[in-house]
Symmetry: C2
Subunit: 359 residues, 2 copies
Amino acid sequence: MITVPVSLGPRSYEVRLGNFPTDLAADAIADAVGKASGVAILVDGNVSERSPRVRPLCEALAHRLPHVNVLPLAGGEACKTFAQLETTCQWLATMGYDRGAALVAIGGGAACDHTGFAAAIYMRGVDFVLCPTTLLALVDASVGGKTAVDLQAGKNLVGAFHQPRLVLGDLGFLQTLPAREQAAGMAEVVKAGLIADAPLFERLERESDALSPAALPEITAAAVRMKADVVARDERESNLRAILNFGHTLGHALEAASGFALLHGEAVSLGMIAALTLGAHRGHNDQELIARTRALLARLRLPVDAAGRFTPEVLARVEVDKKRRGGGVRFVFVPAPGRAVFEDIALADLREDVRTCLG
Amino acid sequence: MITVPVSLGPRSYEVRLGNFPTDLAADAIADAVGKASGVAILVDGNVSERSPRVRPLCEALAHRLPHVNVLPLAGGEACKTFAQLETTCQWLATMGYDRGAALVAIGGGAACDHTGFAAAIYMRGVDFVLCPTTLLALVDASVGGKTAVDLQAGKNLVGAFHQPRLVLGDLGFLQTLPAREQAAGMAEVVKAGLIADAPLFERLERESDALSPAALPEITAAAVRMKADVVARDERESNLRAILNFGHTLGHALEAASGFALLHGEAVSLGMIAALTLGAHRGHNDQELIARTRALLARLRLPVDAAGRFTPEVLARVEVDKKRRGGGVRFVFVPAPGRAVFEDIALADLREDVRTCLG
């Protein structure tokens, strides 16, 4: 087991990574929620609550904690709507959960975002624990306390900062993922290397052809540690934390415009290539870094052909991005692996650059 | 003008009470939102945006601040739904408001609660200013940062703690209120006196027959100051702040069961009489305090006949109250004006007491 502390003063918590026997997992969760008056387990529709990993965990929790019930969520991004959030809150109230309750999410990034936001607003805030079941959720949604649902106008436009009590990253779940989702999760790991961890990036370059099973916990932990470090220094994204948006400004727009046919990690992969392409145009990075990153992402079976994808419809989606400040986009560039810089770019200039470089 | 500071460290703000010329009000709001990238004004459907008090204020704000737009809300409690909240957030996104935006509420308690919660979650939190137009909103919703919407299962079950940058209490609005709403607002002022300000309670007893116009700002300020003081000592309601729930445990249930035909203040009036009646039964207060409070509330034209109102349907609504902890209700009693105590009562006992004392 690898433990990564997320240091946020009174809101500190741990991310634990490993293969957890059911009893160990249940003990850890029971310990984290302490004297909860009741525990609601929200299970991603893509992860069957009757699966051999989920059902025993729910039963073990019911043996340890009071008033345990399971609510299945819509699978994937479909749970990140206002309507689904209201359904969850209404269910919690009807089941009699009070402000001493705790929520537990078992699922991917969307289920984690949904559960965290429900925990942030139900009775003005209850505790929660995340059990991410995808690599993406583990390295992204589970660190930093950003919870959200989507609006028609864009992804994650409504949410709250609310830190979990514990993140239990059972890597056993990851092995049950479809290959495409496993690949997508690696996009955020590559991002971690690019913006803040050159050795991680180089290790991925060396080992990506034949990643050993033993390497996964270490690589995952490195990505989690990088994010935990950034978030500890800037919890509310006043500044530094925005480096985590590398590849996301254009990636989110692509993802939304695809109607979520593109997985988040796939969109981020394309967004990173797009950002590096604009970066070369603006003198932030050289062509070699584009070539290295393309090669790495392609070997990880992620899409890298960004050219031609940024239609006016996609670019229109950038407008309501949270990163925009007074008409401009705070864009993240990577001059070299392990280092990120910001540049505020007027939206019109960004559009022009995209047309020039990626048209 | 009377200024009441609400001291919450970095989240401190001021409640200003008085009659504000438009320019003064607009200057104060502009000053409070600082360098906002845009300002959205949310106007209570019960307060016409074309009214002689609202329209000039919106225009004056548009002269001082960038990107000013007005969104009319559904009137009264009707705006406190998930659906209305989503409409507001979607409108903010469509109008291009970013995380540097600020919201301004002009309206009653429901509009203030809605706006505060929208500000808490839009882009994970933007600034807001409240311009309460009812006495109730001024002494209750505008102090303490409790924002919320309702669920079918109960009032204020979903929300956030989010402090405004400024509360501008323009008493000119209060004079335009229907007599019934003016009366309802006084219930929270009486509550303030009962739980923490004996001189205020005694002043109300002396002057309630003929409250001079000059007395209103002072009495309002006293109630605001009491609440600000309690909130400053316990922002997140871990303990002391719960005294503010006096009259609310049963009052909220009545209000919800009436389908909001009862105004909040009317329900609180009945809830206080009910609480004092249970209090006499449990030895917390004497009959004389019930008689004094009844007389005062009746003179203020508030309903005081609580007997017979607490049907099983009403009592069933108490169950999902946020004040409930593991099957019990943390009930607030007032042994004497200016002093509040707690008693945890099992729900079954509470029901039995209500049947005995108020059946």
